[in-house]
Each structure stands twice: as C-alpha cells, then as structure tokens.
Amino acid sequence: MTEQAINLDTFRAEVAGWLQENFPENLKGQGIAPFGGVEGDRVVEGDAALWRDRLASRGWGTPTWPADLGGGGLNHEEAKVLSEEMHHVGAINPIPLLAGMGVTMVGPTIMEYGTEDQKKRHIPGICSGKVRWCLGYSEPNAGSDLASLATKAEENGDHWLINGQKVWTSGADISQWCGALVRTDSGVKKRDGISFLMLKMDQPGVETRPIKLIAGASPFCETFFNDARAEKDDLLGALNDGWSVGKRLLQYERASQTGARPTSNKVSGSLQSLAKSYVGETATGELADADLRVRIADHLMHTRAHGLTIARITAEAKGNPEVSAAASILKNSATRVSQERAELTLEFMGHQGLGWEGDDFSEDEIEHVRGWLGGKAISIYGGSFEIQNNIIAKNILGLPETTQKG
C-alpha cells in the first residue's frame, strides 16, 4: 500500500466517524427539499441549518477550496472520498445550492481575479452557505450580444452609482450579493468599457421582479438599479476589463452545464421501460411503435456518446475538464440530450403528456410537462446554441468570425 493510499484510508475513516456524529439522521435521503429546493424559496432551519453549519465549519461544502478562506483544503482524491462517504450515509452537500451562483461561478472567478482583501471578504460567505449570489449579466435588449449592455456605473466618491436594468437574474429576489457587468466607459469599443462589480442586493437602489415563464413560476427576475451602490473596492479585476472577467466566469458556467441534466428528475426508470409502459410492446419484447423505437434508440445512443465524450475529455484533461475548448461541444450536445429526451417522453405519453394540472395526470406527468417547457431555455441561456456554434467555428476550427462586424 502506498503512503497516499494509507492516508486516504485514514481520511475515509475520519470522514465516516465525523458523519456518524454530525449528519442529522432525519435528513437522510431527503435531497434538496429541506434546503429550499431548486427555487430556494423556503427558510433553512432546524436540522437543515444545523447540517449546513456543521458542514461549513469543516469547509466541506467547498472541499477543494483553500482552508484559510473557509474551504476544506482537500485534494481531489480526498474530496472524492468525502463525496463517496456522504453518498453512503444519504447526505447531500447543500452549500453549492444555497450559494446560488457563488460556488459554481462567482467563487472561482474571485479566486482568480480578486484581491486578497476581496477573497477574504467574499469567499468565506460563499463557503458558509449563508450568502447567496446572483449574476447581473443579460439586459432586455442585449440577449446573446452581451457586449452591447447599457447598465451604467459612475464613480461617486468612495463608491459607484449604478443605473440600468438587468433581466434573467436567476434568484435575484433571494440573493444577498450580485456580480454585475456594467458599462464604465461609453467612449470606447463596446467590449472595452465594461467592468465587473460586486454589490449588495439588500439596498434601496435595487428592486427585483420575478418573471413568469411558459412553464409557470421561475427563479428568474428582472432587476432594476436606480442609483444602486457598489463599494470602490468591490470592482473585480481591472477597471474596464470586465469583459475578460465576465467571459471567464461564463466558462465556469459552461463547464458546469456540460452534463446532460434531465429536464425533469421526477420521471424515473429508464426511458425505454417508461415508453413501454405507455406504448406497449410486441410479442418479441420490442416497443410497439417501431417508428418511435428507432428514435428512442437513436436518442439513447446519442446520450451514451455524450456521456462517453465527457468521460474522455475529462480523462484527457487529467481530471480537469473545466473551461476546456470542448465545453461548447458538450453544451450543445447536452442540450440536445435534454431537449430530445423531453420531447420523446412527451410524445410517447400521448394525451397523458399534455396535462397542465389536475388529477387526470400523475405528478410525474405534470412535472414532466413543466420540465419540458423549462428545458427549452437550455439552448438559449448560458450561450445559445447558435453562439456555441460560433465559438466552435472560431475558437476550435479557426474559421473567421461571423458575428462581430463592429
């Protein structure tokens, strides 16, 4: 046994012991519900709060982040052991969820671009699971053309004054902090006059309004800044260099989106067995609808290919596939997997897949409809399908840029 393996075994024992003492039994297998669910619309209290705080006290909500900033200071192997042991006892790590965009995007970007002071002020909050972050990127008239944003920040003594409107700010109504792209110089080419500011959401100059979507209620908001205030030392990265900071942050986002998440996690069992339950099977065990069978097989093959590609690229990147050039390929491929699965499911459910509410439909069926609708956004947000193709053509294949004329 190598020294490393011995250390890992020791660590595993330590984790197991700690979990036995600290993980509240009645959270077992409860998933994210006690922590407010995806919408984050419930107060975290009781055992849930206890577990969050105990986990944070070891820094294990962000296990590989530096210990002096509130992280766990673990290496990747140790983090894997921690994750395995938590899975083993039915525990989840709620902190990435509770931190909004903090763990997946803002944190890594602060650690890369931030000053020592900024790291000390912001990272521990993210690690604690008590400070939720949202992102002020999109604007009503910008869409995929992020660089044309119009929200302005002007220097005003020891702080910035921000005016303008953001849209699609996910979780803005329940976040404590916001990372926003703002225009700090209007006299230069549009990408060059943008800065990345961090500001508090709980202040008079910030107003949020939830957006109702085609699938119903959503975590998205319109966010209005009217003389909102950001501290001078909460400029992340250099003045007017916000485009690089913001783009880097988006790469972290893309990396977190390459896995094909089911648009609904309520429909359980394999797609093919679910299909059989609605469509029936032939005497030889084949799906009764031969046309649909071909398309489901094609879909499952693509899904497998997608999974194998994530595995291959991860292996090639020696365990660090984040922010690779392949992210755009995987984003589009993941989108196809998710949306195709949702459409196929809707199709084989037939009439039962068309419900909106009421007892004529199972919970799974209703949930699926909402997930199918919500999933239409996957090819729009986080760099649309078209934008990803532009990126592949330009950055990977080296073809001339076709979108930026000015």
């Binding site: 869409g143 053309d145 085609i214 037939g350 009439h351 068309l354 419900g355 947000y381 649309s384 399908f385």
Partner: protein
C-alpha cells in the same frame, strides 16, 4: 389552391379580417387567465354562428351552406393563426361529419340543423388510452330487445365540457359476442353520463366522460357494426384533414412572428435575420411550410372530390402538418430567445397548442405508418 372562387375569397377575407380584428391572441390569453370553464368565450361562438361558419359544411337541405372542405379549410387556417378557441371544429366539423356519414334521415333532420345553427354541440367521443388508436375500442354497447346499454370511459373529448351531445364509438355486443364498432348518439344529460373537465396545457375545453350502464333507445345507434368502422374512418379522415388546416394556420402565424423578429431584432450591430445561419433556417422553414400547404390543400380537395387516394393524402397532410408545426413552434421559441420563454409573450401558447394538435388523431409517426400501410409496405 388552384384558384379561389369568388365565394371562397370572400369567406377567406372575412375570416382573416375577423380573426385579426376580433380575435387576437390576447382574447385567447384572457380566456386562459380567466380560466373559463367551457374553454372558449360565448361571444366568440356567437360571432361564428352569426357569420354562418357553424353550417359551412352542412348540406343546404339541413340548414347549412353546403360548402366544401376546401372552403372550410380557409376558415380553420385563419382560426389556427390566432389560436381562436371555439367548438367550431369539434361540433360543426367533426360532429357534423359524423351525422353526415351516418344516421338515419330522421336523425339527420333532427340534429344537423341544430349543429348548423349552433344550438347543439355534438362532439365525437373516441379516445380511450393515452395514444390515438381507433382500432382498439373498449367501450361496449349491449344491444337488447328494448334498446342499448352503453358502458365505458372516453378521454380527451374535445370541447367535452361544453358539448350537448356525444357521438360515442363503442364495440357492439349482440349477446352472441362482439361484432364490430358502432356509433351512438348520447345526450349529455342522459342518466349515467358523467363528465369532468381535463386541464391540458393548451387551456382548451377537454373532458373525460364516463358512461355507466347508460340506457339508450335503439334509435341512438347512428351506425351499426356493419358500417360503423367505415363510417368512423370517413369521419376521422374529415377530422384529420380539417385539423391539419388549423395546424397550418397556427404554424404559419408562428412563422410570421419569427420572420418579423428576424427582421427587427438587432444583435451584434445588425438584424439577426442577416446572420446566414438564421437566414438559411428561415429559408428551410419557409420551404417546409410551402410543402405542408400543398399537402393540406390536396387532402381537403380529395375529400371534396371523393378521390380514391383521399386516405393517403389525409395521412400525408397530418404528418407534414405535425412535423412542420413541431419544428416551427420549437424554432419560434429558440429564435426569440429569452423573451420567447416568458409567459408575457405569446410564443409559449403556440408551443403548447402545437404539441396538443400534433398528438391529436395520431401524431406524425402514426400517419407515416398509415401512409406506408396504404402504399402496401
């Protein structure tokens, strides 16, 4: 369409103007927001009655205008454009067709004029499982000396909430075993009939209807087991082709909204329709729309002319309309981007309605299979 007759042109222009001015999508939105139980505004229905659309295809002998399905298609296409909610399709098209293809002279005399003047809403109650499958009917009609006893459940009955009468497809049982499918006319208030509204994503007036040992007169049998299957097929051909016409309208409106957006929305300093990838996508969608239109018009013409290949053309029309509407409604959202995802914008209505219509009376795969069978392979 070869060339519209003077009458057809007038009806089309009238429908187009009325839909544009009197029935914008905001009317549908209001209906949804108010959660109107029957799934349409009575004012809308009244206006249609006044314009004579309820009797469009009903023969003049029975109080209708006796016009053809091609003419009807012109109206349905316009209604599809703005997602106009009404029982016109369910009763004045499908219900009327059921009576026209079956029923005794007495039955026709009794009901067709009422369908034509909008006084009765007669709708087909066919589906039983989650997928369209008219060859597997489980509802049973037992014939006795004194009449008929009907039992079973029908699902996703279009305008089933507002209907006054159902035309029910059921397996006929003579006592000596089942002998085939028959069609039965059942008034909604007959004892043993229960219905409840089904809330679907397109916010229209579907119902689930249960027939619990419903006792009927023998006259309630519109078609017996000797002709029932053929009648049902003929009714479904009309219903399917007409639905394809409505779907074409829905998709065409989605195309127009998209094209308009491509011409006005700017990104990266130019209108987005100037990006070749989007321009070519629009070109492809437009081409598919033209092909779909040809199929829909051919199917309606074939019904009017009692053409030999009518079944093939109906399957073709529904398949193409389903495929095009599917793609068009998806692209409507995709090309509109974030705004398309919001409930405030209308795109979601089109997407939801699209999937309901695609599924109704057999989806694209169903009709592709049917087409292959008709072509003997």
């Amino acid at each position: 369409m070869a060339a519209l007759s003077e009458e057809q042109r007038m009806i089309k222009d009238q429908a187009s103007a009325w839909v544009r001015e009197q029935a914008p999508v905001s009317t549908f939105r209001a209906m949804r927001d108010q959660d109107v139980a029957q799934g349409f505004f009575s004012e809308t229905w009244q206006a249609m009655i006044e314009m004579g659309w309820t009797g469009l295809v009903v023969p003049e002998t029975y109080g209708g205008a006796g016009l053809g399905y091609q003419t009807l298609g012109l109206v349905l296409e316009q209604l599809g454009r703005n997602l106009v909610a009404s029982p016109l399709y369910a009763s004045s098209v499908v219900g009327a067709a059921a009576l026209m293809h079956s029923g005794s002279e007495d039955q026709k005399q009794a009901l067709l004029p009422k369908i034509a003047d909008g006084g009765r809403l007669v709708v087909l109650a066919l589906e039983e499982g989650p997928r369209h499958n008219p060859s597997q009917i489980m509802c049973r009609a037992e014939l006795t000396s004194s009449g008929v006893t009907l039992s079973g459940t029908k699902q996703f009955v279009m305008e089933g909430s507002a209907a006054t009468d159902f035309v029910v497809a059921a397996k006929v049982d003579h006592g000596a075993g089942e002998t085939g499918v028959g069609l039965f006319l059942v008034a909604c208030d007959t004892p043993g009939v229960r219905r409840h509204a089904v809330k679907t994503m397109d916010s229209r007036g579907y119902a689930s209807v249960t027939f619990n040992d419903v006792a009927l007169d023998l006259e309630a049998m519109l078609a017996g087991p000797d002709t029932g299957q053929a009648v049902l097929e003929a009714v479904l051909d009309v219903a399917t082709a007409a639905l394809a016409a409505e779907m074409l309208g829905t998709a065409a409106a989605a195309f127009d909204m998209t094209l308009d957006y491509l011409k006005t929305r700017k990104q990266f300093g130019q209108v987005i329709g100037g990006f070749q990838a989007l321009g070519h996508r629009a070109a492809g969608l437009y081409s598919e729309m033209e092909l779909t239109r040809s199929c829909v018009e051919a199917a309606l013409a074939a019904l009017d002319n009692d053409a030999q290949d009518a079944q093939e053309l109906v399957a073709l029309a529904k398949c193409k309309a389903s495929e095009f509407l599917h793609e068009m409604s998806s692209q409507l959202i995709q090309i509109h981007g974030g705004i398309g995802m919001t409930d405030e914008f209308d795109a979601g209505f089109y997407l939801k309605r699209a999937r309901v219509l695609e599924n109704a009376l057999g989806n694209a795969a169903y009709h592709r299979d049917r087409y292959a069978k008709l072509l003997n392979f």
